[in-house]
Amino acid sequence: MNAQSVIYEDEQKQLAEICQRLLREALAKAIFLLDRNGQVIVSIGEISEIDVTSLASLVAGTTAATSSLAKLLGEPEFPVHFHEGKRDHLHISLAGEEFILTVIFDQRSSLGLVRLRVKKTTERLQEAFVAMEERRRLPAPQGAGLFDEITDDDIDNLFGDGF
């Protein structure tokens, strides 16, 4: 298959800055920007108690299922889904074709405020995604070089004492 998804440091930094602004403006607890396969691009806020990898795979799973539900009903997408808890709430929305923006918030904020700020943030993210896409159209992506350097010994040595 050989398809690769690559995020460069400067891109991650830019996306993180956009998410930081959302964290402040939406009075959110935590923000996660994921790709649709559940890979974490940005995770900020009160995240020390959260298993981010698990959260990302479950959000990606639920988003994929929601997306299929939409198509089943003849809708192109359900771009937003919201889960209300007793204490914390989860606002999940699509950001562009390939990314998912997840906001966790509590009583310090409100659904209305989060929705409003997410909308603005999605516009900012879209602009960044366009620049990222243009960069990937350039020849000789940097990602290719990493695998060129890997030797067969590197691969053999991967499975060491931990297994």
């Binding site: 298959m1 930094k13 890979q39 479950l58 799973g61 299929s68 691969i155 991967l158 499975f159 931990g162």
Partner: protein, 198 residues
């Protein structure tokens, strides 16, 4: 689709375990979880029914030693094996870097394996993938049970292309073949990324 994060210096590979219901996909993942150093594994997530049948997927993140300064992380997924969860299986296949087909060696499950293999090909085709063009490993599971097909019979039917294949007994306490299968598919993925076929 492998994911390379230059900011956190990580390479993430997605491996999907496919096969008919009750063939031992979840058992493979649980054995890996139970046998791996706690520092090298994340939380095992199982979205299952009350009867412990996989409803959506199992998910296990694993960490391997770094390669060229990049942490290598594996995301292992299983699909729900039961026939009527076809839509869920298709979702999970998205972005897979490699696939393990777990065949149930028991004679009475031969047809179930055939149906699952056809379903796998169909779901791969939905994303433009083909078995012959992706890192693919076959595991003949339940070799410790009686009334099983020979490996030759299974190979002829489920691995005519000669992919790496392994006998396994994932439900047995020593989990024979489970790690051989995993290591093989990881090596294939990395070699595939290193030397793209197309």
């Amino acid at each position: 689709m492998s994911f390379i994060n230059y900011s956190s210096r990580e390479i993430i590979l997605k491996i999907v375990y496919y096969g008919p219901g009750l063939c031992g996909k979840t058992t493979n993942i649980k054995f890996i979880y139970g046998s791996t150093n706690p520092d090298a594994r994340g939380k095992l997530i199982s979205l299952e029914t009350k009867a412990e049948r996989t409803l959506f997927f199992d998910f296990l993140p694993l960490s391997l030693p770094p390669i060229r300064g990049f942490k290598t992380r594996l995301h292992l997924y299983t699909v729900p094996g039961q026939l009527f969860y076809s839509a869920s299986r298709r979702l999970i296949m998205k972005g897979a870097d490699g696939v393990v087909f777990v065949a149930d060696s028991q004679r009475e499950r031969f047809e179930a394996n055939q149906i699952s293999m056809d379903d796998l090909k169909e779901n791969l085709a939905a994303y433009g993938y083909e078995i012959s063009k992706l890192p693919f490993v076959v595991q003949y599971n339940k070799r410790d049970l009686p009334n099983i097909n020979s490996v030759e019979e299974l190979r002829a039917e489920f691995n005519p292309g000669g992919a790496p294949d392994f006998e396994a007994a994932a439900g047995h306490p020593d989990g024979a073949g489970v790690f051989d299968t995993l290591k093989s598919v990881v090596k294939m993925i990395l070699q595939d990324l290193k030397n793209p076929q197309s």
